[in-house]
């Protein structure tokens, strides 16, 4: 870096007020459903009610004759509109079974919710009415909705052409020989956990508008997406619209959590229907439709074994996953569980590691990234297994963790990657202090002694996280088709205000605020004079979008490179204007000063000089605008300790979260209030998996938790306020020393809560429970342990 890293910082590290709020608080946001285009028509998708059915015929006669209908098509009628199937960007093995997946099914519906026909009509209501008139002749087929059943002999086959439901098997091993470490282990534990299927449920369902200029073939797609740039590339390939004529805009996006890290059938359909009709085509997902048609998360069986010494030192970890892909491979369906592959050893210093993951097709909504994507699953397995080992050795779970936590950095994980920095003991110490661990254990002992029906339990999660997706070379080695770099542009306008362009795409993360804070500090420009632009491929052509906690880790690293370039160019202009050598200038927060004098020129003054260009150094181009593209060399490694306290009513089985302490280390913090907010929300989604949420299918493959009435997204009434703190261990690989924070809470929380439930149930002899730990499951676990 050319900029002095110790430049005076005034905004980074403070809770600058959010730039996003003024419009969002007053109803002036612009979500997709808020956008209307003259002449716009509405699309409705006809979805299979069957989890598995042959499509014998689709009769559109009545739908086409219905009021206001513009067009209606079956899957086979649109077959020629596609240049390529929907994108699958991560063929994790050479021999992966990768079915062609088109926006509408033509031969077979493979999950309840699979689109089979589409209707376009004059209004939302008329499109829905006409969709009901489409007559599909289905031949129902046996369905499979359980990963292990799907691998059994005689299971219904989701994709006939493969003759098996196995999609791929992917291995990873590292460090010392794992079999030998297990053979010589004094203690082993073998555990089996179920990661239930989750429905991401961002509060804004998805929505799309495709609008064309028929004369030129230009297409503008508004979409509630985390990935407008990736969508542009892949939808151009899929629809044949030249990429240069396809503009994708993600306006205000009402949450994503991975579920909008996707290229969906409805985006492709809207484009081809706009092309066919010449009209702007809009589709807004209903919540019950979202439960079926937007990808799900998790859904796997985890087998994890630990080898340890008698004292409790873990030597090796062996993991085997069987993961539901659902019915099709979406953009990173196969790779999602592998994002956890390197961290099933947790924050522990182990010698040997082996991992194997099998992806399996089932007749269900496809799975893909959901907040944390692979890493919450990994953290859950290792944190629960460590507690199982503590139980087996009759050790305190905190002491066992202390014995095993990585304490020297950089640390080479047995799984093969290097953790650059951290201080796991410090977060554990601070969290225990906040909890008053001894005091808690005393109260717990008292309740146990008097046989209280309401028992307390405490659960720990000393996690590490791998995020900041991702070094392009590593992605390439893992067979992911794109890169992991990010771009930023800084543009000084003649009047001195600044536009910041980022290729990351926020959907709640406050980029407008934090990116401006960084630029304000590094360029000495007023916070209110900076506008951050994003989410429009014509405004910001270069970008890789937002997922995997990458906007700060990579997007702001690119931004820092761009400020460096701005300063370098401005410095030439300042040296010329002040008639000194560049080396005679000292730069600090937006001002160049001739060393030892009071002669100065600000970056803004240099920007104006660059614009009028009356007197620039020979050969220097006018205008002050710089773009930087940053490709990380390593992942980002946050870590910390989360502690959950639950109270379980043994008579009703109700487990309530009563306290939650989180001490995270995410390196340098740009905006404490925003980081706290990320952690709060992350924890809540992790708690929700532990206690409340589950996508349930019946034996026919029908989703029975298809609305917010049946699928329990927790409200404020179920949750306490969380107690947060941080330690700061700066990343040596980030220009600000920062680490990703968007997923930490979700990664850490789930095992902390389940470990706490099991701790509360220890007096009853319960040592295992499936998620969510619902009142019924808790109550049954107590009864079964008693009998």
């Amino acid at each position: 870096m050319t900029v002095t890293e110790e430049a005076t910082q005034t905004l980074v590290g403070t809770s600058a007020p959010r730039k996003e709020d003024a419009r969002l608080l007053t109803g002036q946001g612009s979500f997709v459903d808020d956008i209307t285009i003259p002449g716009m028509v509405w699309m409705a998708v006809v979805r299979s009610p069957y989890a598995h059915a042959r499509i014998r015929g689709v009769d559109l006669t009545k739908a086409r004759a219905a009021e206001g209908v513009v067009a209606a098509f079956s899957g086979s009628e649109l077959a020629d509109d596609w240049m390529a199937p929907l994108p699958m960007a991560w063929p994790v093995t050479e021999d992966i079974n990768n079915p062609s997946h088109y926006a509408l099914a033509a031969d077979k519906a493979r999950y309840a919710g699979d689109g089979v026909a589409v209707v376009v009509a004059a209004s939302r209501g008329l499109a829905q009415d006409a969709a009901e008139l489409v007559e599909v002749d289905y031949e129902p087929l046996p369905a499979v909705t359980d990963v292990e059943a799907a691998l059994a002999d005689g299971a219904p086959i989701v994709h006939d052409e493969f003759g098996t439901n196995r999609c791929y098997t992917w291995p990873l091993a590292g460090g010392e020989d794992v079999d030998a470490l297990f053979a010589e282990a004094e203690v082993t534990v073998e555990e089996r956990y179920r990661q239930q299927r989750l429905i991401p449920n961002p509060m804004e369902p998805r929505g799309v508008i495709a609008s064309t200029v028929p004369a030129t073939g230009e297409v503008t797609l508004y979409t509630s997406s985390q990935i407008p740039h990736i969508a542009r590339v892949t939808l151009a390939l899929g629809t044949g619209v030249p990429e240069s004529k396809l503009r994708v805009i993600a306006p205000d996006v009402g949450g994503g959590f991975g579920s909008k890290l996707q290229v969906y059938p409805e985006e492709a359909l809207a484009i081809v229907l706009a092309r066919r009709t010449g009209l702007p085509v809009k589709w807004i997902e209903e919540r019950t439709e979202n439960a079926l048609a937007t990808h799900h998360g998790r859904d796997m069986i985890q087998e994890i074994a630990l080898a340890a010494t008698a004292e409790g030192k873990i030597t090796a970890v062996r993991v085997r996953l069987t993961v539901s892909m659902g019915a099709y491979l979406m953009i990173i369906t196969p790779g999602t569980p592998l994002l956890g592959a390197w961290v099933y050893g947790g924050a522990y210093d182990i010698k040997g590691y082996s991992f194997e993951c099998s992806g399996v097709f089932t007749n269900q909504t496809p799975t893909d990234a959901y907040r944390g994507a692979g890493r919450p699953e990994a953290t859950y397995a290792i944190e629960r297994a460590v507690d199982a080992l503590a139980r087996k050795l009759d050790k305190d779970p905190v002491e066992l963790r202390r014995l095993n936590l990585i304490s020297e950095f950089p640390h080479d994980l047995a799984s093969g990657l290097t953790v650059d920095s951290g201080d796991y003991h410090a977060t554990l110490d601070r969290a225990l202090e906040m909890l008053d661990y001894d005091g808690f254990r005393r109260e717990q002992a008292e309740r146990r002694e008097r046989g209280d029906t309401k028992q307390l339990g405490v659960g720990f999660s000393t996690y590490l996280e791998m995020c900041g997706l991702a070094p392009s070379r590593i992605l390439g080695a893992l067979r992911y088709v794109a890169g992991g770099w990010e771009a930023a542009t800084i543009r000084f306008l003649p009047t001195g205000t600044v536009q910041v362009l980022t290729g990351t795409t926020p959907h709640g993360q406050s980029h407008d605020t934090t990116f401006a804070q960084v630029v304000a500090d590094r360029l000495g420009v007023g916070y209110d004079e900076i506008e951050v632009l994003h989410g429009d491929t014509s405004v910001v052509p270069l970008g890789m979008d937002t997922y995997g906690s990458r906007s700060l880790a990579i997007g702001i690293a690119a931004l820092c490179s761009a400020t460096d370039k701005i300063v370098a160019k401005a410095q030439r202009i300042a040296a010329h204007g002040l008639e000194v050598a560049e080396a005679d200038l000292q730069y600090e927060a937006g001002t160049f000063r001739v060393r030892g004098t009071d002669r100065t020129m600000t970056v803004k003054e240099a920007a104006f000089a660059a614009w009028h260009a009356h007197d620039l150094p020979d050969g220097l181009e006018p205008a002050l605008e710089e773009t930087a593209v940053y490709d990380p060399s390593v992942f980002s490694w946050p870590g910390g300790t989360h502690i959950a306290v639950v109270e379980v009513d043994a008579e009703t089985g109700v487990a309530n979260l009563v306290r939650y302490v989180a001490v995270d280390d995410v390196g340098t913090v740009i905006n404490p209030q925003i980081v706290d907010g990320q952690v709060h929300g992350g924890i809540t989604q992790g708690v929700a998996q532990a206690l409340y949420e589950e996508a349930v299918y019946d034996e026919n493959g029908t989703l029975v938790t298809g609305s917010l009435v049946d699928y329990l997204v927790p409200s404020a009434a179920e949750l306490p306020s969380y107690e947060l703190d941080r330690t700061v261990t700066q990343s040596p690989n980030h220009p600000l020393g920062a680490k990703g924070v968007g997923e930490t809470g979700t990664i850490a929380a789930t095992p902390a809560v389940v470990n706490a439930v099991l701790d509360a149930l220890a007096p009853y002899g319960v040592t295992d429970i499936d998620m969510p730990a619902s009142p019924e499951r808790v109550w049954r676990a107590i009864q079964e342990a008693r009998s």
């Binding site: 969002l24 961002p202 509060m203 924890i683 609305s707 009435v709 409200s715 009434a717 306020s721």
Partner: protein, 153 residues
């Protein structure tokens, strides 16, 4: 079609509506008041909360004809132009919104809550906001914002 007349944010509107037209779509698509959002189709999420005659209601569960003769306040009508209502100000200061999609509903529900219970405890706030879902904030800062609003109002 039925003719209705109602007041929205202080302005009187007369319109012919289909009997099945929901109040939320009347507000959003007829009046262009897109600050009121639709988050579900089961009255579970509260994103569509508006005030009808001063009480919070889910506008996705009411037909426009049911609001005939009523006085509706939406997020757009809560404060004067360019101003923030104390509840909006508190949400801003406490970082009680992230993506902002559920926010208008929470703000309207909070206005209604504080009218009924000017000094709610944390437990009462959490209970009262049970009908509004947020996926971003974990509710921690929303609770703080309601507490700040209560002190300010």
């Amino acid at each position: 079609m039925r003719q209705i007349a109602l007041t929205v944010n202080g302005e009187r509107h007369e319109a012919d509506v289909e009997p099945r037209e929901l109040l939320v779509y009347f507000l959003r698509e007829r009046l262009g008041l897109t600050g009121t959002h639709v988050g579900c189709d089961t009255s579970s999420c509260g994103a569509c909360t508006v005030l009808l005659d001063g009480e919070s209601v889910n506008s996705c569960t009411l037909l426009a004809v049911q609001a005939d003769g009523g006085d509706v306040t939406t997020i757009e009508g809560l404060a004067g132009h360019g101003q923030l209502h104390p509840v909006q100000q508190a949400f801003h200061e406490q970082h009680a919104l992230q993506c902002g999609y559920c926010t208008p509903g929470f703000v309207m529900a909070t206005v209604s809550l504080l009218k009924e219970q000017p000094e709610p405890t944390e437990a009462e706030i959490r209970k009262a906001l049970e009908g509004n879902l947020c996926r971003c904030t974990g509710y921690v800062n929303i609770v703080k914002a309601v507490q700040q609003s209560a002190a300010a109002v």
